[in-house]
Symmetry: C2
Subunit: 396 residues, 2 copies
């Protein structure tokens, strides 16, 4: 049987494997990209499901408009205006099946086979996969501590010209590096982009997971032309199992997303959207986020302390101010995939960095998740990993 040409682009199965292969119980895994399940407000969610089914069961179990449940879109618009000073209306928001669907639909909307997508690098493998599935040529743009580097970005925009159909970035507590762009870089980036008729996909999955009170303004706030497509989700701030996320775009672009969403799956589940709206109306998601950020900050602090204690000084890393990840770099020439094989023998796992590169992968980096591991296991796991690294680095 013959398959479409896109299939051959999807050879990196590490994301799929991470979803299919559940870790064994005795493994300390720093490889997740998820919130901690022990933080889910299960009782409140159970109550929300019950109330929704009793009060509006027939609607909740029927088809829902393709754009999503109106009240939920209104609440999201209001929340974003309050937190981020954005001006999206509920009609400029569509509910998607996780942010991943927003990325997939963005590929469908903007990318023909062979078009160029510029990628902040390293970056989220799910976005890489979604855009590879639409046969984009992914061009890596490097980042420094302030964010995406605007010189190489400008160079690529000019070099590839009309072939560039999208720029994909994660400005807040980026996956995998944990870094946030500075305000100056955000401003500079949007000023540069305003000279090009190219959409900017702003993946805001981690924006609210800040260890500090103040949240940074999203790129959407700096956007004067309506070229930012903003993708938000409840998967990291609440729980991923409901698959409730959203995408914001100005009206003439949103009309096209609606057509694509309708062709993709008609609509997201009515029931989970209504329970999410119920939760947002009757409980405080902000309080919940404060609580989980406190937990994650403690786990992060414990991890940084453990890294200082157990990792050799040749391994570098930075303490993040939010998000779920610490990004570590081995000396040049060392390979994190080899390190993972050795660590797994000692029942410790993490994500090797090469999967986060859309092209020209570097192999000496790796990502450590702290949100989903208890403080005790953070200490234990990092001590073990430190030992494995020491042995590995002592080999010539």
């Amino acid at each position: 049987m013959q398959f479409a040409s896109r299939i051959s682009r999807l050879e990196d199965k590490s994301m799929l494997d991470a979803f299919e292969i559940m870790e064994t119980e005795d493994m300390i895994s720093f490889s997740a990209g998820t919130p901690a399940p022990d933080t889910y407000p299960i009782d409140h969610i159970a109550e929300a499901f019950d109330r929704v089914l009793k009060q509006e069961g027939r609607q909740a179990l029927s088809y829902c408009p393709t754009s999503g449940y109106k009240k939920l879109r209104e609440i999201i618009a209001g929340r974003m205006a309050e937190k981020f000073k954005t001006t999206y209306t509920s009609d400029e928001i569509i509910i998607t099946g996780g942010s991943q669907q927003g990325l997939d639909m963005s590929g469908m909307l903007f990318v023909n086979k062979g078009d160029v997508v510029l990628f902040e690098t390293p970056s989220y493998l799910g976005a890489v996969n979604a855009l590879r599935a639409h046969e984009a040529e992914l061009v890596a743009i490097p980042t420094d501590r302030e964010g995406i580097e605007t010189e190489p970005l400008k160079h690529a925009l000019d070099r590839y010209g009309e072939r560039v159909k999208m720029v994909y970035v994660i400005p807040d507590f980026q996956n995998p590096t944990g870094r946030s762009w500075s305000d100056a870089r955000r401003r500079h980036f949007m000023e540069l982009m305003s000279h090009y008729d190219v959409p900017v996909i702003e993946d805001a999955a981690y924006s609210e997971l800040s260890f500090d009170k103040e949240l940074r303004k999203p790129l959407a706030w700096y956007d004067k032309k309506g070229q930012v497509i903003y993708i938000g989700t409840f998967s990291k701030t609440f729980c991923p199992g409901l698959r409730v996320a959203w995408l914001c775009a100005r009206k003439e672009i949103m009309e096209k997303y609606l057509v694509l969403k309708n062709a993709s799956d008609l609509s997201s589940p009515s029931i989970s959207q209504r329970q999410m709206a119920y939760y947002l109306e009757h409980y405080s998601l902000d309080d919940h986020i404060s609580e989980i950020c406190a937990v994650y900050k403690r786990r992060c602090d414990v991890m940084i302390a453990a890294l200082r204690e157990h990792f050799p000084t040749q391994v570098t890393y930075e303490a993040p101010r939010g998000g779920l990840f610490i990004w570590a770099t081995l000396p040049e020439g060392k390979d994190a995939r080899e390190l993972l094989l050795r660590a797994a023998e000692h029942k410790v796992a993490f994500m090797p960095g090469s999967s986060f590169y859309p092209s020209a992968a570097k192999n000496n980096e790796f990502r450590l998740n702290f949100s989903n591991v208890s403080e005790e296991n953070v200490k234990k796991g990092i001590a073990i990993l430190g030992g494995v690294i020491n042995t590995y680095l002592q080999e010539s």
Copy 2:
């Protein structure tokens, strides 16, 4: 801003409009394609959600494997084996967001821009949209009362040769015609297809909605080569708001669907899959289906009686043996879209037939849904529609 070329193929927005525009309260609408919300077993569903959250809340609110919740896939495999004598294992089943996502992923898997998809005609507009989004050239194959016509099918297979990447069919209680293929036609069709290396997408959305005890064998049962991709759903037999459907394919094909599902939305919601599994384990879906089929059969009988009473004899139709629809044909030269405009003035709606044609649309047909309208409103609505048709046909 520049959009991908696929967007221009998605000009028929009648499906999107049907989802976005909710009908007004005083309209009698025969245009739905949905089960009756008053049949949903809301109490049982509420109990299932509650139990799942209390017993396995953390897993139910976390990410789920891309293939779907294992226990649900096992139950589906067992149910299909029992009802339809199929031999799919749980690993040959993937959970999708409605059948629509199965159709979208099938387009992604098999179709490059410009490839040919052969379509039983008339057929489901959602499938037309999903395949147009992948820039397939849709070629209409006519049907008679026995099913797809194999002579024109063979002709198209030979004429388009290697460009043909898929045949899409709905053998049971077809949308929009309500017809089911005869056993002889199923056998003959699969015998013909076995000479070609082309996948057959069998959309089985209505298969279990039979007014008779006996269910027909699906095409998958006749398939000796593993070329059938079987798409099933709980949207019509249970409720659509959970968006739980499934797709069956042999292992080497399934591996590729998994990669695409992962790139599309990582996985379907864990919570709805687990509540569906709980329902299937603790209640009888078969009893529920028997109950709704009895309701639908009564509504169908009432509609047929009303059609006999109120429609002029120039309008033809057949009484279906299951499913949700009656397909009616006006005399040549008359236009169902014009009829709809007139009927809407009298607060009656239906689906004009032209949207069900992937190409070379006929305009003198229309689809009437009986599942989602009370017996009283069936009588009332058909009487009104009969009056409007009489007036329309009397004009020259």
